[in-house]
Symmetry: C2
Subunit: 136 residues, 2 copies
Amino acid sequence: MNIGEASNATGVSAKMIRYYESIGLIRAPLRTGSNYRVYGEDEVHVLRFVKRARTLGFSVEETATLLGLWQDKTRASGEVKDVATSHIAALETKIAELQGMVKTLKHLAHCCGGDNRPDCPILDDLAGEHPISKGH
Amino acid sequence: MNIGEASNATGVSAKMIRYYESIGLIRAPLRTGSNYRVYGEDEVHVLRFVKRARTLGFSVEETATLLGLWQDKTRASGEVKDVATSHIAALETKIAELQGMVKTLKHLAHCCGGDNRPDCPILDDLAGEHPISKGH
DNA sequence: CCTTGACCTTACCACGATGGGAAGGTCTAT
DNA sequence: ATAGACCTTCCCATCGTGGTAAGGTCAAGG
């Protein structure tokens, strides 16, 4: 299987497959005589694992950890759960952050006429001129 | 006011102040004879505006737009509201994405013993081996 | 007057993850 | 044989931020 086929089979772009190889996330595959990378089922399996982990928002580094745990047949599932749990916490922090922004913005947008007059509470807030208290 | 004082007064690092200047987000300030940047109240005001917009998650480019609208005394507040509204939509999309990740991960973590045995539904899911259907 | 330390200047390099493109080699089908 | 679809490596860009090095400046105190 060439890199293009491996890419199609996994949804990981050829570019990223080479990148993952270059940073050591995945192992360098065998090459043909003409220097083409050759992938087999195992490699595709690994790539799908990586793809899934990335889709779930794990960083490449966390993915490397998970990959290591996956390939370590003797690991304790608790280790994996720890990685997952702290990732969940990070995601939730991020979500709370974004929700805070949305809340403030919605309040501002709600107070903004959105008409043709130049008065705009959103800009006033950004400018710190007439700060609107959050508690309505 | 030197750049350090402006930084303290606004919470924008000196590094970022120079960066914002270099990309044209803010105007180049006057300089002293010894080439130090000099900031006044107006510049500080602009920097605080930028800081607040960035804190609310606007990209530098969106911030530039808002800054332009702020300084255009004749703008319609509707234009500002549009920028804010589409930013809210982008934030909400992102939030939904993260929440999807959290949901899946929580489910996986819930199914994972987290003990010393090597069986781990999280890894099995990542590997696509025994995919756990989302609907429990 | 000189030193010290805190500040300023510019100019680079790095991150993380990804895409783009150039310049060149290879394979397959017509 | 040639075209077109692949592959290879190498470099550059993004976005926002931090670091660091090499040098200039300024204020305070000996």
